[in-house]
């Protein structure tokens, strides 16, 4: 099909349509493929479920991988295409992805089928579907994908593609060729489709354009039609309106004489006459017309005949006049019939009410008769009567005209009266008016001057009336003329006189105030000027006396003199001040002229006045100005400020005496016509001078203080000659511009003043203020009488929190809560009576925010300030000072208390130490000096027991003091090692058991919760705490029991040891005293005396407990008992094995049983160390004897070395000779540390136990670092010694060697051996 190329707009539109269609197709195909993808996935899943749902391993099955593949891989394959089809339908990328995915589906299908030929058709079907896009690129992408797939799999897995073991590359080419062939076909089809699409788009665009055109035409036609209809409607409406507006009754009749249309007048007529206008249409005229209503059959028949004649075309016009009277009036109507075609023959009937015309006709006839009668009158009158035609040509004149004008009718007939009678004096304006009126057919009345035939000038009064014929057309004019020449002459003379008077009056009105009064003074006439000036209206003035204008300025005598003068008939003239209506005053130059009557006495008074108010004001202003100038000159002359007037060059034109004095003080004399001092020789800084002149030229005032240098004699120096050592003086310079009459600045007015003192004072004040504000104390100044603040420095303002403005509205008592006005007055009274004195007081000030500030105020009265003097208050904030004083007082009290406590403690300790020492020394002395005591084993034993118990007690006190000292010095440290709490509790109970049994008190152990096998704590200190608590409990219990309850809270990681006794208990006061854990207090001194003890144990135990993460709490009831609870931290108990209480009990029994089985209860001390060989390295002979005695008594074999060297050599020479070593750490020649290190370096592994007097933890660590296995502190506890010896001696037993005979030992060993002390 060949089509003509469309225009460019159509082409563009066609392209748009084509593109839109293509996009729509793309979107549709995207969605189609999205559905296909989903169906393929579903199909794959269903196929997998049908074909290979399960895979088997014997009798056990599981879902086949193919099902998962169909679900997973299939879903993955379809996911992106479906997503893109949903989110980006129509995009090129979407269809490319769809193409790729569809081809991959084909590959998958072929793979699953094992290359079945039938499955290859999926490729072709997919390509055909992809061709829906009409996009060759999509086919190309799909072809590339499938070709690549065939190529790759055909090469590596031909079986999966072709179903054969091996495939020739030609096969891939063959497959690709078939794909290519299909692509060619599809691309051709796509192209054809696109071409079709384009053709369709072009047609659509063309169609759209035509449709647009049609629509435009239709719219235009429609608009035209609408306009036409509108016009018709309007025309119809106009016609109807026109008809309705006609006063005539108009009816449209059709051929049958029926009424087709009638106007409003007709309808109204019918309604008026009892008809119904609404039913007129299509009623026959004759049924409703006035003719029928007239009741005249003849006229009705005649009307019908005429109507029919017109409707039938026999006549083109008919008319009929008839009478139709109503009860109220006589009426006549005319009926006119006119035919027209519309289409069909119609007639319009116009019926007019001619009643008026009929009546008029009758009237006219009556008028004609009257006219005839009047014509006779006209003929006989003396006035001229002229009749003219419409063109104002005379048609008839009467005798009167002939008489006045002198012309006869024959002479004037057919002529214009104007041309005939008017002459040069005739007023053209009047003629014009007359002509205008006559031309318009209007009447005219006026006066005109004519000239008669004989030349006589005369005036006429014309009255011209137009005449009309019966048709109302202008017929002519009738003029009636009256000769008023004499009247005019008289009037002219009157007018001339009046004009003169008026002119005179106007002149008076403009320039004077004229009033006429009668002889009593009442106003009978005033002119306009009088009213204007006085403000009163003429009406207000008429009949009034001139008193209403009295201003009160003139005395009564003034008026009396006036009346006297004018009463005598004389003219009186004065300047008078009157008051206007608005109250303002005005001056007049008044002349009163009496008008004398026939009797020579004044009948009226004519007052002629001229206003002179401005003149009077000017006189007064001049007078005031002169007075002011006089005063000003006097002020300038007497002014203390220097006033100088110069020109712009600085040349003096005027100087007052003060200026002269000032300049003379600078050593300069002012001279008129010479430069002023400040302009001379650069006395002012140049910039300032320029600024001054600039301001003056700008018309501004220059004002500035100037510091001018002077020499020691006071002479003004040049500004540039100044130097720091020269004194200066301050001048206040004010320069104002002076302008001449033209407003041009041509001079300068200088006002200078010596302000040196003022400036200096101001500076001093500023310095004082700065100093005041720098003060650290507040300074208040308040009035001595009102107590209102006058000044406060910065510190004062800061103290009270108010601003200076606020303080200046307050009084001194407003900020002091301890005073009122009266009490404050009494307080400061001494300052008034003793000026110069001061009062210092400590009080409080109330801050703005309500809190009080302790201050120390020092008041002083300065009588010279103010009117009654000023109080100066120096205020110091003593808050910190008070705090410091209080803290000092508190510290002092505490120090005193501590000193007292320490003194008491020292006194107590002195007693505690001396008491056992006395017993020890006493019994030792007894043993030494009393042989009988020593010989008696029982007494000797008792003495030894006493010495031992007192020594132990002394040791306890010394240990407590040492512990307390370390705690107070902050040098006590705690270990955090594995600690068996149960073991410690049992050890404490075991140790305390003998003492408790001795007092008959039972010691019980209870476990309230599961107990961890180990906690992180310091076993030594924990044991010490429990020993103290249990010891105290036993000490203060005489009967009953002491129970140790142990429990643990895993969450808070705390272990609690409650020691509950049934002892004497404590009062509340005693408990509170103890609970302070004061280092030096027991319940009271009496308990110390009764029960002994240092009083430090509980304090030390509490300190230990606090350092172990807890504290000690005390509960007690007097007479019932006490409970002391010690808590310590356990550390993290996670994964720590716990023992239940019953398990603990069982364990205890097992241990007990084991001990029983092992024969551990009780053991013979003499056998404990049997077989153990011990080397004792000790340099002190006493300790050598004591320690070796204890060990040998226990069955050990002991060798003593006096120093570390000997000990080291003994072991080095005989390493297997000894089981263990007790090593004193402080020895001469080679101390224990070095000896231990030497042995360890040599590889000796003997257990070495350090013996040291130093109890500090650092010493223990030193021992351990040196190589010691354990340590024991001196003084050595025998049991501890034996325990240690047994533990280490039995744990390490080297190969048994024969112990050499001690007597044959090396000479390096001391001679004193195990034979015991001598």
């Amino acid at each position: 099909m060949i089509f003509s190329p469309p225009s460019s707009s159509i082409s563009q539109r066609a392209r748009e349509i084509e593109q839109a269609d293509l996009r729509r197709r793309h979107r549709y195909t995207d969605r189609l493929f999205a559905v296909i993808m989903l169906l393929q996935v579903a199909g794959a899943i269903v196929s997998a479920l049908v074909v290979s749902p399960q895979t088997w391993m014997g009798t056990h099955s599981s879902i086949h991988l193919h099902v998962w593949s169909a679900l997973g891989l299939g879903s993955l394959l379809a996911s992106l295409p479906v997503l893109l089809a949903w989110k980006q339908p129509g995009a090129a990328s979407t269809r490319f992805v769809i193409a790729i995915a569809q081809m991959l589906f084909s590959s998958l299908l072929i793979h699953f089928s094992g290359g079945r030929l039938e499955t290859h058709f999926h490729i072709f079907a997919s390509l055909a579907l992809l061709a829906f896009y009409r996009d060759w690129r999509v086919l190309a992408v799909a072809s590339v994908v499938i070709t690549a797939d065939h190529l790759i799999r055909g090469t590596f897995w031909p079986l999966s593609v072709y179903g054969v073991l091996s495939a020739s590359p030609w096969r891939t080419l063959e497959h690709a060729g078939w794909v290519l062939l299909e692509n060619v076909v599809l691309i051709i089809a796509c192209r054809e489709g696109l071409l079709d699409l384009r053709r369709i788009a072009n047609r659509e665009a063309e169609l759209e354009r035509r449709n647009e055109q049609f629509e435009h035409e239709i719219a235009a036609k429609t608009a035209e039609l609408a306009a036409t209809n509108l016009e018709l409607s309007e025309a119809n409406a106009f016609l109807t309106a026109i008809l309705d507006a006609q006063p005539s009754h108009i009816v449209i009749l059709d051929e049958a004489g029926n009424i087709k249309h009638s106007n409003a007048a007709w309808k109204a007529f019918r309604s008026e006459n009892g008809g119904q206008s609404s039913v007129l249409r299509d009623r026959n005229y004759l049924d409703v017309c006035a003719v029928a209503a007239s009741g005249s059959v003849k006229e009705a028949a005649e009307a019908a005949e005429k109507i029919l004649a017109v409707l039938s075309g026999q006549s083109v016009f008919e008319t009929l006049t008839y009478a139709c009277h109503s009860s109220r009036e006589q009426r006549w109507f005319t009926m006119e019939l006119t035919p027209f075609n519309a289409p069909g023959r119609h007639a319009v009937m116009v019926q007019n009410n001619v009643t008026r015309q009929h009546m008029e006709h009758a009237i006219i006839e009556a008028a004609n008769r009257e006219n005839s009668r009047l014509a006779a009158i006209v003929e006989k009158t003396t006035n001229a009567v002229v009749l003219t035609d419409a063109h104002q040509r005379i048609t008839w004149v009467n005798k009167g005209f002939e008489r006045i004008s002198g012309y006869s009718l024959e002479e004037v007939h057919g002529k214009s009266p104007g041309r005939l009678l008017q002459y040069e004096k005739t007023d053209p304006a009047t003629v014009g008016q007359m002509r205008t009126a006559l031309m318009a057919g209007l009447p005219f009345h006026g006066r005109i001057q004519n000239r008669g035939k004989d030349g006589r000038e005369y005036w006429l009064e014309l009255d011209i009336q137009p005449t009309f014929d019966q048709h109302g057309a202008l017929e002519g004019f009738m003029g009636i003329q009256s000769d008023i020449s004499e009247l005019v002459a008289a009037r002219e003379s009157v007018e001339r006189a009046l004009l003169q008077v008026t002119s005179l009056r106007n002149a008076l009105d403009q320039h004077s105030l004229l009033s006429i009064t009668d002889r009593t003074g009442k106003i009978i006439d005033v002119n306009t000027g009088f009213c204007l000036v006085s403000g009163y209206t003429r009406k207000e003035l008429m009949g009034q006396n001139h008193q209403i204008l009295n201003s009160g300025f003139h005395p009564q005598s003034f008026w009396e003199e006036m009346w006297k003068t004018i009463g005598q008939g004389k003219v009186w003239r004065r300047e008078v001040c009157n008051r206007a209506k608005d109250g303002s005053l005005y001056w007049v130059d008044s002349t009163i002229v009496p008008q004398l009557g026939p009797d020579g006495k004044p009948q009226q008074y004519v007052s002629l006045r001229f206003e002179i108010t401005e003149k009077k004001r000017g006189e007064e202003a001049l007078k005031r100005a002169n007075e002011q100038n006089h005063l000003l000159a006097a002020a300038v002359e007497r002014s203390p400020d220097a006033t100088i007037v110069t020109d712009l060059e600085g040349i003096v034109r005027f100087a007052n005496p003060a200026a002269m004095r000032l300049d003379q003080s600078f050593g300069h004399t002012i001279e008129l016509g010479q430069p002023a001092l400040l302009f001379c020789d650069d006395r002012l800084p140049k910039p300032m001078l320029q600024q001054l002149l600039h301001s003056i030229c700008e018309g501004n005032v220059f004002q500035q203080p100037v510091e001018v240098p002077i020499d020691p004699r006071g002479k003004l120096l040049q500004y540039d000659d100044r130097c720091p050592i020269h004194p200066t003086r301050w001048l206040s310079v004010t320069a104002s511009p002076l302008a001449n009459e033209d407003g041009v600045v041509d001079g300068i007015l200088f006002a200078e003043a010596d302000v040196n003192e003022e400036i200096e004072t101001k500076r001093a004040l500023e310095e004082i203020t700065t100093a005041m504000d720098s003060a650290t104390d507040g300074v208040f100044m308040f009035d001595a009488e009102s107590l209102r603040f006058v000044y406060a420095n910065k510190e004062a303002i800061k103290q009270v929190g108010y601003s200076l403005d606020e303080l200046q509205k307050m009084t001194a008592v407003d900020i002091n809560p301890h005073f009122d006005i009266k009490s404050f007055g009494e307080f400061v009274a001494p300052l008034v009576t003793a000026p110069g004195s001061s009062i210092t007081v400590r009080t409080e000030h109330q801050h703005r925010h309500g809190h009080r500030i302790p201050v120390e105020n020092s008041f002083q009265l300065v009588a010279e300030l103010g009117t009654q003097g000023r109080f100066i208050a120096i205020v110091r904030d003593i808050s910190e000072q008070l705090h410091a004083e209080q803290a000092l007082e508190t510290a002092k009290e505490q120090a005193v208390l501590a000193s007292l406590a320490k003194s008491e403690f020292l006194a107590n300790m002195s007693h505690e130490i001396r008491t056992p020492m006395t017993a020890i020394l006493g019994f030792a002395d007894l043993l030494d000096t009393s042989p009988e005591l020593a010989a008696d084993p029982v007494q000797a034993r008792n003495a030894i027991q006493t010495i031992r118990s007192n020594a132990n007690h002394l040791l306890t006190i010394i240990n407590d003091i040492l512990d307390m000292s370390k705690i107070e010095a902050g040098r006590m440290t705690m270990e955090q090692i594995d600690t068996d709490p149960i073991q410690i509790v049992e050890e404490v109970a075991s140790l305390m058991q003998p003492r408790a049994i001795g007092k008959g008190v039972m010691v019980r152990l209870e476990y309230d919760t599961d107990i961890p096998r180990k906690i992180q704590s310091d076993p030594t200190r924990l044991r010490q705490i429990l020993l103290n608590l249990v010891g105290n409990a036993i000490k203060f219990t005489e009967v009953g029991s002491v129970t140790v309850r142990t429990s643990v809270d895993k969450e808070s990681q705390k272990m609690r040891f409650q020691v509950v006794d049934t002892g004497i208990g404590m009062t509340t006061e005693q408990r509170e005293l103890i609970a302070n854990f004061d280092a030096f207090s027991q319940a009271d001194g009496s308990t110390t005396r009764q029960f002994g003890g240092s009083g430090l144990g509980l304090r030390i135990s509490n300190s230990f407990a606090e350092m172990l993460g807890g504290r000690i709490e005390i509960e007690s009831q007097i007479g019932v008992g006490s409970t002391l609870s010690a808590t310590v931290s356990t550390g993290d108990l996670t994964d720590v094995p716990m023992l239940a209480p019953e398990q603990i009990s069982q364990q205890q029994q097992v241990v007990l049983k084991d001990k029983q089985q092992a024969g551990d209860v009780p053991q013979d001390p003499a056998k404990r160390l049997e077989g153990i060989r011990i080397l004792l390295a000790e340099d002190g002979p006493d300790n050598q004897r004591l320690i070796s005695f204890h060990l040998r008594k226990a069955g050990a074999e002991v060798v003593v070395a006096e120093n570390g060297r000997v000990a080291a050599e003994a072991i080095e020479n005989n390493p297997k000779l000894f089981d263990m070593v007790f090593m004193d750490m402080q020895m001469p020649e080679l101390d224990g540390y070095e000896a231990t290190r030497r042995l360890r370096r040599a590889g000796h592994r003997h257990p070495i136990v350090a013996l040291t007097a130093h109890a500090m933890d650092g010493d223990r660590q030193n021992c351990t670092e040196a190589g010691c296995d354990d340590y024991a502190t001196k003084p050595i506890d025998r049991q501890q010694l034996l325990d240690i010896a047994e533990r280490y001696g039995k744990s390490s037993k080297p190969t048994a060697l024969a112990i050499p005979d001690l007597a044959s030992r090396s000479s390096s060993l001391p001679s004193w051996t195990s034979s015991g002390p001598s």
Partner: protein, 202 residues
């Protein structure tokens, strides 16, 4: 932005699928000679071909299709016996599968039920689709599968080898991988004589 990860994912899926299909089932060598204790009799005039089948295995359909082709190619030159493994307590359900029906449609073939896999155990058959060819004298000639991939019909080395052997040509291979599900087997002990093995009614 999503295209590349998508494509890679799809490729990986394909690879997994191909890999799965290429993994043969477990196999062992059967006895070199026809076991005397076998409960079935072999042919003495021609080779006997045992085909062990798991009746539920979907991949073995391809094996049966190839067997069908093979039988057609070597008609009369072999005695095919198809052994369908089944548990004793589900015998009937297992022998009514599509695969079992397909086996019964084989021409010139005997289809037997191998209850509890006794014979499979005896001949060391582990995977469904496992074929064992014994000569007329009872000597082992071939064992293995006759498909090239799981469930895929088509030429395979196994089928080619069998065809050649049955046609009297020198074999290119005497064994081939088997692609299929694992067979039902008894404990490793000699199978008792029948009646454990019965002919399957068509």
């Amino acid at each position: 932005m999503l295209t590349l990860p998508w494509f890679l994912g799809v490729t990986a899926g394909f690879a997994v699928l191909v890999a799965y299909g290429s993994v043969p089932g477990p196999s062992e060598s059967p006895p070199d000679h026809w076991p005397a204790t076998a409960s079935i009799e072999r042919a003495t005039d021609r080779p006997t071909l045992l085909v062990f089948v798991h009746p539920q295995c979907p991949c073995t359909l391809a094996t049966i299709a190839e067997l069908e082709r093979l039988i057609a190619e070597v008609s009369g030159h072999v005695q095919p016996i198809v052994l369908l493994g089944c548990p004793a307590n589900q015998r009937q359900e297992w022998l009514e599968t599509r695969l079992a029906q397909r086996c019964q449609m084989l021409s010139a073939s005997q289809v037997l039920a191998d209850v509890n896999g006794v014979l499979a155990t005896q001949f060391n058959a582990m995977t469904s689709g496992f074929c064992v060819l014994y000569s007329a004298t009872g000597k082992l000639q071939f064992h293995g599968g006759i498909t090239y991939q799981r469930g895929h019909e088509g030429e395979s080395h196994g089928r080619v080898a069998l065809r050649r052997i049955l046609n009297g040509q020198p074999p290119l291979a005497t064994k081939a991988p088997v692609y299929g599900c694992q067979l039902i087997r008894t404990e490793n002990r000699p199978a008792p004589p029948s009646p454990c093995c019965q002919e399957v009614e068509p």
